[in-house]
Symmetry: C2
Subunit: 331 residues, 2 copies
């Protein structure tokens, strides 16, 4: 089996590549070839015994995606995108990468199929940003998509394209809407959502973190490992039960900031919790107020997608995957 990842240098793309290289399989199928594509060269994952190709390309260039698709991967993961903040700041770039890029990729697959039968599994990483406030208490899969960002608009449009290309039989597609990833590894960044990870990751590392919203704020989370699990499951599951409705929200964990902090206390103690500093930020409070808090994901659960069990587990996974099994704050 040949697997291609577009957006392989991003945080989730990298973890997915590492997972596939390490396990050497997707479901019951061995992976003979792995192609990692991104705008920069993706890091080579360790432990892969098959044929590995790393390629840098601009997904907004139609010919570029076509060159990879011409190698006829059996599974295509499409994670390439510029993030919400950048798509909002640079309108044209957002549409060029997030909408046109997706369309070029889908078109490359369709055109391959015109030459000789070809219908790869196509897994698209969508986002809960396709939804815009006001919401019901729990957002179900039948709630309409009214994005409040250009990024969310581009993701919702891409979901529609994916549905039509699947219905037409050009590919076998599924769009999975990822929750906010927590704990996001790396440095604190300026994303409005950054604090959800910062208030856990930094204290675990023995560093200060700023909490800009109230403890009552509720949000929707998934660990990096759960996200990789969603992608792998989407690549191998039977898609027939989806019918024409190919986009679905992934099962995350709905938790308040207070619940996140309580989990941190259970796992890493008071010393970690004392590193969180409360500094309310009116701008972030306003932005976060428009974000989804909870979802009804019965459909995804029935289809075999697995959520994180608890925030304690999310923190333990981070300690295992990023901190060598022991958080510095406890050393």
């Amino acid at each position: 089996m040949h697997v291609a990842i577009f957006g392989a240098a991003g945080m989730i793309g990298r973890k997915l590549g590492q997972h596939l290289a390490r396990t050497g399989a997707l479901g019951a199928s061995g992976i003979a070839a792995l192609t990692l594509a991104d705008v920069v060269d993706a890091e080579k994952p360790a432990g892969f015994s098959g044929k590995l190709a790393v390629t840098s390309l601009d997904i907004a260039d139609p010919g570029a995606a076509e060159r990879v698709v011409a190698t006829r991967p059996d599974v295509i993961f499409h994670l390439a995108a510029i993030v919400s903040g950048e798509a909002e700041a640079d309108f044209e770039k957002g549409y060029r990468i997030n909408l046109d890029g997706t369309r070029h990729l889908l078109e490359a697959v369709r055109r391959q199929g015109l030459a000789a039968p070809y219908r790869p599994r196509f897994v698209f990483a969508s986002s809960i940003a396709v939804f815009g406030a006001p919401f019901p208490a729990k957002i179900g899969d039948e709630f309409f998509t009214t994005p409040l960002t250009s990024y969310g608009t581009q993701k919702a449009m891409s979901e529609l394209l994916l549905g039509d290309y699947s219905r037409r039989g050009f590919l076998d597609g599924i769009a999975i809407r990822l929750p906010t990833i927590c704990i996001r590894p790396g440095k604190p960044n300026k994303a409005a959502s950054g604090f959800f990870s910062n208030i856990l990751r930094e204290p675990l590392a023995g560093a200060d973190a700023v909490l800009p919203v109230s403890d009552e704020v509720r949000h929707w989370h998934a660990s990096p490992r759960a996200a990789v699990g969603f992608l792998a499951h989407a690549a191998t599951m039977d898609l027939a039960p989806l019918g024409a409705r190919r986009a679905l929200s992934m099962p995350g964990l709905s938790a308040t900031v207070a619940e996140q902090i309580a989990a941190l206390k259970r796992v890493a103690g008071d010393k970690a919790v004392r590193l969180i500093r409360r500094e309310p930020d009116a701008t972030i409070i306003r932005i976060v107020d428009g974000w989804p808090r909870d979802f009804d994901t019965r459909r995804a659960l029935a289809l075999g997608f697995k959520a994180d069990a608890s925030f304690d587990e999310i923190i333990r996974l981070h300690i295992e995957d990023e901190l060598g099994g022991k958080p510095p704050v406890l050393r």
Copy 2:
């Protein structure tokens, strides 16, 4: 005020042009200039005292739309599209006209605004084809869009674009989802929905008509005059109450075929009804089975959109507008 209609040679575009030419106004504003654009030259409407421009252009050509938008119309009606059947038969053409055409038009407006402030009212004719079965008994505005045709996909994607361009302040847009137009004037055509009009229009003209489905089939209708009314209202109403949710289903009339025929009997008598021949067609039965039957349009009604009062009225409007006040079957 300068008004431009893209798709001015189509059935609704022509009737809208005639209406605007005859009344010389949109709401409280007089129309000084009217631009009629389509892929063929639109017929010049009678009775217009302002400046009339008729232009033929291909909306899929970015420069073409730009030339009209450069004249900075205050109101743009976008009705240009290829129909469902053609978009399904010719995949590439459907996306070129119905998606790229819409995007070129929106982009032309945005680019005008980069040169000097410009934020026209933009009325987009969308379709109930954005929805795909299975449906709730009544489809509300918060039901998700899962089109089962490429045409519906292109309309749903255009709605999303319109929403984002409006949110960004590039234009003041509204997408109105028109019901099936009944009674559609002209000759019987091969559209699967054609019979809804044929079974009324043909008998009124003293000609035979074929009914390919059962009398129990329920569908969602609006007269051509109601459709023109929706468009005119959308062009002049206050859009602030819409917030970011710029797409809405228009109030149609939900009626069974039996109710249509009963209305025909009341208006034109048994002689007309006897001209309807029942010839079940398995293909059409299957297609129509996947179509919406009824909508919850409280939101549109609260915003001042007006539905046809009854099928009797729909038939009487047709007699008035198309048959000089007296149907041939009664002459």
